[in-house]
């Protein structure tokens, strides 16, 4: 059962040797020019810049094609030197997934993840602070190694509906926790919050090659949630959402509870007329599609439906949206942490793009919020950044601390 989550370079060797190096996965410019009959339909007219690490470092080493070539070199040579250069090439991939969305024949991103697993198997020293994060997750069940998460007085700690806040919200964004729980309560859903009992989902080790730790966290979480009586898990972090909906089922099969993203649930509640946005918000906002909610899990419409339902709110799209959305800079909480100069540059570019559309960026992932807020603050960028839950709370007239 456990082997299901593992990826091996061997699995990709055939498809990578099939790769014709056509460059579609990374080439700048449109993916498809024409089929002679007509111009490409909008969904194929891709933006000029797509792969964040390629755009930042420029060398092909930092795109799917270059990493694929390195992956095969590693595969073919059991003594391939595990140099800092190799680690940088492999761990600056943001895992945004745009390459795999373009080329389903070779699925470059999964091959890059397989390469990371192989490097771990060979005993490579991962870029810091991944080692520290792994220890934190293992020992304290959160990526920060903090002792006490945000407490929510008067909120049940067990029940059929459980809100899984994720590390970022639990330790750095209490406002999001308040917003999620209060908006859901106003819509008739009394969600529980586990607080200290919540365990890191294991997304980071699951995507930096240390998949054993992801499996450990999957077991811990599923056990805890089962004990708490969970029937429906509500998630507001895109990374946690991907871990629960894509990775965990590969480890344990079907989960004993349903998993839904907060934006999906809220959109459904709006359709059922269980949510009432009583306060007008006269603002123009733009929505940033988190990679792990959009491209990786296919959730594009629900957040937009929520924002469109808020009276007075105008939703403007960024140039790169939906399947072409650009990474927030966090890079799956890996490249942004390990290579902050690169991560911050990506974030700045994304925020500047957002500011072309509106001066308020809304997203549906606490990791994206955390990354974009920090860079906006440090760079003194005149842009507001919010999780969708806080905007929903405001529109429902719910006061947050």
């Amino acid at each position: 059962m456990k082997e299901l989550r593992k990826t091996y370079l061997q699995d990709f060797r055939d498809s990578w040797t099939l790769c014709a190096h056509c460059g579609t996965c990374n080439a700048r410019g449109p993916v498809i020019p024409h089929n002679w009959k007509e111009l490409p339909p909008p969904e194929w007219t891709s933006p000029y810049h797509r792969c964040p690490s390629f755009e930042h470092f420029n060398f092909r080493t930092y795109n799917a094609q270059g990493r694929g070539i390195l992956a095969m070199r590693v595969f073919d040579d059991k003594d391939f030197p595990l140099s800092d250069d190799l680690m940088k090439a492999v761990y600056t991939c943001t895992s945004c997934g745009v390459c795999s969305d373009i080329c389903k024949a070779t699925d470059p991103l999964t091959a890059i993840w397989a390469l990371r697993e192989e490097l771990v198997r060979r005993g490579a020293e991962l870029p810091e602070p991944l080692g520290k994060i792994h220890r934190n997750i293992d020992q304290t069940n959160n990526m920060f190694g903090s002792a006490k998460p945000v407490k929510m007085e008067g909120v049940p700690t067990e029940g059929e509906d459980i809100y899984f806040a994720g590390c970022n919200a639990r330790f750095t964004q209490p406002k999001v926790i308040q917003a999620v729980l209060k908006t859901l309560k106003a819509a008739g859903i009394e969600a529980a919050y586990l607080g200290e009992e919540e365990k890191c989902c294991g997304f980071i080790p699951g995507h930096d090659g240390q998949t054993d730790l992801l499996e450990q966290q999957a077991m811990r979480n599923i056990e805890t949630l089962k004990e708490a009586g969970c029937k429906r898990l509500i998630v507001s972090c895109a990374h946690c959402y991907k871990a629960f909906t894509v990775d965990y089922p590969m480890i344990v099969g079907e989960l004993p509870f349903q998993v839904v993203h907060y934006a999906e649930l809220l959109s459904q509640l709006i359709k059922e007329k269980k949510v009432s946005f009583t306060k007008r918000i006269e603002k123009k906002v733009t929505y940033h599609d988190p990679c792990f909610l959009g491209r990786h899990c296919g959730v594009y419409d629900a957040p937009r439906e929520v924002l469109s339902a808020i009276p007075g709110l105008e939703l403007a799209e960024m140039e790169r949206n939906r399947r072409w959305s650009y990474c927030c800079g966090s890079g799956a909480k890996i490249s942004g942490i390990c290579y902050p100069e690169f991560g911050n540059a990506v974030t700045k570019e994304r925020l500047q793009e957002g500011m072309q559309a509106a001066d308020h960026v809304v997203t549906a992932c606490t990791t994206c919020v955390s990354q974009m807020s920090r860079v906006a603050r440090n760079e003194k960028m005149d842009v507001e950044i919010d999780d969708i839950s806080t905007l929903a709370a405001e529109a429902m007239g719910i006061e947050l601390p």
Binding site: G29, V31, W36, D85
Partner: protein, 482 residues
Amino acid sequence: MEIIQAIEKIVGPDRVSDSECVCLSYAYNAILGKDVVRKPDIVVMPKTAEEISEIIKLANEYKVPITPKGVTGTSGHGGCLRGGILLDLTLMDKILLIDPVNMKTVAEAGCSFFKLSHELFKEGLMLPTAPYGPGPNVAASAILPVNAFGETKYGANINLVEGFEVVLPSGEIIRVGSMAYADFDFGPYYRYITGPDLVGLFTKMNGALGIVTKIAYRCLKRSEKWGFHTYYWPMDKIEELTKAVLGLTAAEIFDVHLNDRWSWNMIESVTLPDDCYFLMQIILNADNDLELAGREQTMRTICESNAGSYLPGFAEDFYTRWPTHFMFMEMVAPPRKSLPAKLPRRYMIMFDELIFPTSRLPEIYTKMMELCKKHGLWGFPQFSAFSGFPMNAQTISGHSWTPLDDTDPDVMKHFYECQAEFREWFGKKGGTYQQRLPPAAPDYVWTNQMGAFKLIRSIKELLDPNDILSPGTFELFEQEEA
């Protein structure tokens, strides 16, 4: 001073690297199963011809090889044969001119066909000989011509090139063909300016005589009407098939793409009639419905009078679906699930980019089949799929690709023996290659034209006395290996 520090002074520290990983990630070409390129020692990403000029001067000073690389087509060396400095031209990707009235365009060498085509379309223009794959950049496709749809009517991509800006091995920047007049009032309007055609000197040369930095194309009006059709032939009708290809090419049909059934057998979604052995997918272009109807009638007459049977729905679906055939790997991978599991998904090009007279198709195909049978590489599930691009001038550019287990020494022994036997036979016939030079192509492409080869070598020695530009390009590899 180390050469890398000197290069840093030209392009800055962020656009040059001698990192082992960076260099290794450029050690690839686009030839399935063939690793003819070597790892560069330094990768540089220039942005201007002037930067390239300065880097070439340094390379001369240090006697270091220097080779350009764009985004690849599906073939060609596309990298260093002797190590040294690799110039990655992908940052030189600006479109400099689109003149819809005079139907000309100029772009930097690293601009992709997709980017250029996308903009040309908006102006009612097209570059019809768009190569496979989205990335091939406009210069790479000219210095190593690639397989392209539209060749049946318009010939090779290079036929539309009218001018180059080139940095010579001395570092001097020159302009040839229409580009020589690019800065005059009339602009780049004609290839064959006074004197011999120097544009031709810089084609199919892998950057060995100069590094192309800008390229001027003659565009065509984007056709309003298109038709997509498929005809098929049984195996014993290859003579009739050949007559049909000759007829369609003479009738200036936009594109004919020829496959045997093995290409399609691999794709799960494709079911072919039992008597279908050869398939011909035909693309027609026209300015209006009347012209299109006329071309369709011509196509029907030629195909049906030569034993072709119509296969409805096949090309129509294949050519109009998104993503288009440009992403052809989407079409062949993953292979048909019914293929035996032990058959690996490793493809190698057995008979590669051969150019031969269309009239000799039956002879060529029969020889391929004979040799493949001899070496156990024919028939399902072990096969070698033939794909041919009939070009104008009644020639075919064809190749075959073979899925095999390249870890099995016996299989590989047969593969190479089969390839070598065919090459010997094909070379003696006077066959040649469209897009490859030795070592990717056999030496007979040079030895069959020794006089021309010696002249090219003389020009190379004259222009590049230090042999720094793409060294290895104009050499005889079999002799060297011996």
